[in-house]
């Protein structure tokens, strides 16, 4: 009945690779954050696929925890982008190479 878990894992792997390509290649920090979300969702899909495969709800708990961590990460990342924009810094991850306050 329906596709086996390997199909879901294939989709998850493709999503993870796509997201990593975006994180490595794009220079706009907003799109880097969006690509990071794709990577997290690829991992989530693998977790939920294995939870269904093993008949164990723990994978879904892990996926919900990942969701909460992703929301926290978005808050901090967007806060940094707003702070950078307020200081009139160019939004380019290649130019953000100093950690001086």
């Amino acid at each position: 009945m329906g596709p086996s878990v390997s199909w879901y894992l294939g989709v998850a792997g493709f999503l993870f690779a796509t997201g990593s390509l975006g994180v490595l290649l794009r220079r706009n920090p907003l799109i880097v954050l969006l690509s990071l979300e794709i990577m997290l969702n690829g991992a989530n899909l693998a977790l939920i696929g294995f939870a269904r495969h093993l008949g164990d709800g723990d994978g879904q708990i892990f996926a919900l925890a990942v969701m909460a961590v992703a929301a926290s990460e978005v808050v901090v990342g967007l806060g940094l982008i707003v702070a950078l924009n307020r200081k009139r810094v160019t939004l380019d991850v290649d130019r953000l190479n100093t950690l001086r306050g």
Binding site: F14, L45, V75
Partner: protein, 184 residues
């Protein structure tokens, strides 16, 4: 007869959701305008929720739509509107060895994952475990969260609290005058 019709229906929904998911994922990475990327990510999250439903994870699918496609993406769109539209050509800028290296790294990751799934695990992943009707229901998720995974639940709440405080500190207006703020 009805079983095979249901099977075909499940496969059709799966194919549609999976291709929508992969296509919108590629669109997020390749759009030059972050606003369109965020809209494509909403489509990605919605089609992932359909895949979660096919995996009988009803509560996670609902949380995905409410929390991710609702709250988080609205926050993204607000910040994109605040920062202002600025586009970049997606595959340009920076040295070319960087782009080639990034593409190679992503391709290596994809090949690794596919090889592991195809070679190592294909035989053992071909069957699906039988599950009860309660699997993935809010009641079951709540029971697991408050009994077996209570520590993870509490730590998640602390993570969210710290992130909220950090967001307020980062987003707050600086009390110092503009000339006192050191240049970045």
């Amino acid at each position: 007869m009805t079983a095979s019709v249901g099977n075909v229906l499940v496969w059709a929904v799966w194919v549609a959701a999976a291709f929508a998911c992969l296509g919108s994922g590629v669109a997020v990475v390749s759009f030059s305008n972050p606003f369109f990327s965020a809209l494509a990510l909403i489509g990605n999250l919605g089609s992932l929720a359909v895949l979660y439903l096919l995996l009988s994870a009803e509560f996670v699918a609902a949380a995905q739509v409410l929390v991710y496609a609702g709250a988080v993406m609205v926050m993204f769109l607000f910040v994109i509107a605040y920062v202002g539209p600025r586009t970049e050509s997606p595959w340009a800028g920076g040295p070319s060895w960087q782009a080639v290296g990034a593409a190679l790294a992503a391709a290596a990751l994809l090949v690794e994952i596919v090889v592991v799934i195809g070679v190592k695990a294909s035989g053992r992943l071909s069957h699906s475990e039988d599950i009860t009707r309660a699997f993935g229901s809010p009641r079951e998720i709540g029971r697991l969260f408050l009994t077996d995974h209570l520590l993870a639940f509490e730590i998640t709440s602390i993570v969210l609290l710290v992130a909220a405080i950090g967001g307020v500190i980062l987003g707050a207006h600086s009390r110092r005058a503009a000339d006192e703020v050191p240049p970045l």
